[in-house]
Symmetry: none
């Protein structure tokens, strides 16, 4: 078997991904994602379309300070306007101002779009492509050319479609990307047309940019590679316009693990699930348990037959090792698995618990109640550990909450401070009664709570909240719905997650906040012991 | 072009679909689904595995009274046990008791499974297949043979794999189904192996049964058909074990609309989205907005460039007519959208706006600012419309908010009421200053707000909040993060969505609540006009 060529991965989560319904990233989320993709071994990261909106402009400005180890940052834009000198084109100027090593330009392949959407001529369209690519190359950029609607355009008028690619090549593009913009192309036609282009353009890299409208986004990306393309554009978790782009979290493991193509991210594949979860978290999107390779259900066994066979021959019903993509086998059987997984989790945390003790029984009872009320501990190890601590070790909390009050108001109030809180707690024999203010009720509670704790526990000063998430569990109940709040905290050394749930959003936040401070004090006590 | 063969569709939502995590159907749901699938033109409906669980037994008992117009009901089971006479096998007896016209039997193709899981010999496995099929045929059943792990088995030992198919054919099976049980097979190998089988078994129907573990469930089903298979097994919405089965709601429109294969369900394709939603409702599963063809996002346009082109040439960015699968085009408003998608949206709402007016310019400016501050209008048509109303129509709001205050507290307070609110608003020349209490701050504000509005606007009493969602936009800012609140409301006749965003979670909720009431008053005013 001859060595297969290396495939370059081009991520457009930060640009095309944000075209998806319900997806938007803050500038700081985009920066964190770019670093994460770089770390994973992604080759190109498309950051946005400068000039299309203020957020993308702000991203490229801040991205100048990013230190990427491997990936090249790309700015995305279109060819110059019809009948305009490329040097005068405002959009092209902004592309250069983004100051990225790579610029990706899309142009029209489909004659219908040239005449009906751009309302210009075939000749001018070719000039627009060539001029734009050449101008950017002259300005020191690597230019990737995205042939929009390539497959539809080719089927309509093959000669013109190929002429647009020639124009991009003459301009000096480093890659001709065949875009299935509408996501309507089928496996066979993508294979056939990609083979034609690869054969006709032997001296330039060919890339794929596919969408999932027919449920074939992954398949046609792979088929394109098998037909000779050596770059794949896509998005993490298949984010993107309409049904989304080709999902890189499926395409990469298929290429690397199933088809044997070398990728610069191959070594990182055991962190693929982490990457997928991180992207969803940044996008504030629920994880899809049915995502191929990375979903929580990917290696789950429910049926008795399968579960039994998996026990006998591990790869009976698993097409790859779950660990090769950072996932794991799960068997859904009875509520017995509840107890054993809790014990596994406790052992994971280095706690020595007796599965058959009365305390453990009480603890499991309490846990069921809490989960029924909306608590969830998957991302709240600290709250889980505190609970075990209280029930199994019977250790008292370092403080007792007596009351809190929050007042939030709008109207005749000074700027930026809309909330005021008081907190009354008992530490040993001392009562602390403090007040605080902030831009919102949780901020005000946080301030008052710290000021009650700090005189006794100065280390609380180091605790910072690094993430704050809110989920409404049963939204159909309107303003009476149960709210789950998850907080992530750090003291600079350790990071921990806590949770609170209540039909009062303030109480849920308070519970998560209280656990965060209590956990810090538990860490301190353990460090001393 | 020669006429393509008709493809039979075999639905296993009621059996393999229920192997999915979180999926279970009541008996009555299964009966309703069977009727729905029949009505849609599905050819075979697999109802369950009699004997594997009491629910499936009850289903087949009740299904005897189902009057299906077109579909044949199938019971699913395995080959007889090793070294047991088929007439004595308890599981086979139950299959006959199910009294269905069709029985589908799965048997082992992969020698590894024969020796390691069944712990028997290759010869006995072949006898088990042939005996079982023959016995069922003798009892008047149409028997479909599912070759479990066909592709893995063939790659391991092609001769043995083909011998198992021969055994099923000798027994009298009507169809040999090639199962990619682990979902690990790639497009090329499925094509190649299916072609081999179709060539070797010219006198018997060949079927496909694929899973989505590589994200290729739809692709390999289609490729199997293109290689000569004429039956496709799958599930609605891709329900099923692990990542799920081949999704019939993608496979059917691809076969019918994209590839031109006749299906008995072709005429029903404009009801495909209804079918998909019905299945989710029966399974109590959230609709996947990103489901190809049938998802709410399938024909959605967000980016300004696309929205603009869609207006000019409808099929520019739509690979099929949305109506052909019962879906529709939607335009979303976002910070990427240009003027044109806003205009389309306004037109959608029946508003007549002048794209070039000063008011429109101000409106777009304000919209960009609001979106930058965390507002998002995709699910908040009512807030968007109110904004247009304020800026373009220059209509004053029916009330003006002067102040609100909320107090939320824990501790010495009576049960179930933890929050108290006051609201002061101006309606015309009247000041209304009211108070309310609730289990949380938003509930308390809701009560006080209504009591301020209702004396002037009695119809507010009808407004109910049907959904309440909270998103933290930039969680890394901890308690100071921007919160976006989305509320869905109804007055029994209309349903509308509103949004609020702020670094104060109460203020964000208030904004969404305020728009909800303001929108109701706008609807009332329009109804009167």
């Amino acid at each position: 078997m001859s060595q297969k060529p290396s495939i370059l991965i081009y991520d457009t989560t930060l640009r095309d991904g944000t075209q998806g319904e319900g997806v938007s990233f803050s500038v700081s989320a985009k920066l964190r994602l770019a670093e994460k993709f770089d770390h994973f071994g992604i080759d190109y990261i498309e950051g946005g379309w400068p000039g299309s909106n203020p957020r993308d402009m702000a991203f490229f400005e801040k991205a100048k300070k990013l230190e990427l180890k491997h990936a090249k940052l790309a700015a995305f834009g279109s060819t110059r306007r019809a009948n305009t000198a490329v040097e005068e084109d405002a959009q092209i100027k902004l592309l250069l101002e983004a100051d990225t090593p790579v610029v990706t330009i899309f142009g029209k392949t489909w004659l219908l779009h040239v005449t009906e959407v751009l309302r210009t001529t075939a000749e001018e369209n070719l000039a627009m492509i060539e001029d734009t690519v050449r101008h950017l190359v002259k300005n020191g950029r690597e230019v990737i050319y995205d042939a929009e609607h390539f497959f539809d355009g080719y089927k309509d008028n093959p000669e013109f479609a190929l002429e647009t690619l020639e124009a991009a090549q003459r301009g000096g593009a480093s890659c001709l990307t065949l875009c299935d913009t509408n996501g309507g192309s089928q496996v066979d036609e993508v294979r056939e047309l990609t083979e034609i282009v690869v054969k006709k353009f032997p001296d330039i890299r060919v890339g794929m940019h596919c969408h999932n409208d027919c449920g074939l986004g992954v398949a046609v990306s792979l088929v394109g590679v098998q037909a000779g393309a050596t770059m794949v554009q896509g998005t993490m978790n298949g984010l993107g316009e309409r049904i989304g782009n080709g999902d890189l979290t499926s395409i990469m493991p298929n290429l690397s693990l199933k088809l044997g193509y070398p990728l610069n991210s191959s070594e990182q594949m055991p962190h693929l699930r982490d990457l997928a979860l991180f992207v969803n978290e940044m996008a504030n999107i629920r994880n899809n348990i049915k995502a191929p390779f990375v979903g929580a259900s990917a290696f789950v066994h429910k049926g008795g037959v399968h579960a039994d066979a998996v026990k006998k021959v591990k790869h009976s019903y698993e097409h790859i090792e779950p660990e090769s993509v950072g996932n794991r086998t799960r068997v859904l059987v009875s509520d017995m698995s509840g107890r054993s997984s809790i014990l596994m989790k406790a052992n994971d945390m280095g706690m020595d618990v007796d599965s058959k003790s009365e305390e453990m029984k009480d603890f499991l009872q309490e846990l069921k109640q809490l989960e029924f009320r909306g608590y969830e501990y998957e991302a709240a190890d600290a709250s889980f550990r505190l609970l075990l601590h209280r029930f199994v070790d019977k250790k008292p909390d370092p403080f007792e909450v007596i009351t809190y009050k929050v007042m939030d108001q709008y109207g005749d109030w000074k700027d930026d401070v809309t909330a005021e809180a008081t907190v009354k707690i008992k530490i040993g024999d001392t009562i602390q009664h403090t007040a605080g203010e902030g831009t919102g009720p949780v901020g005000a509670l946080d301030v008052a709570f710290r000021s009650a704790l700090e005189p006794h526990f100065p280390s609380i000063e180091k605790v910072r909240l690094t993430d704050f998430k809110v989920r409404i569990i049963d939204g159909a109940k309107g303003a009476q719905a149960i709210t789950r709040v998850q907080i992530e905290s750090t003291d600079g050394q350790n990071t921990w997650g806590t949770v609170g749930a209540s039909d009062d959003i303030i109480e849920a936040s308070w519970e998560a906040l209280k656990d965060s401070f209590a956990y810090k004090l538990m860490l301190d006590a353990e460090a001393k012991a």
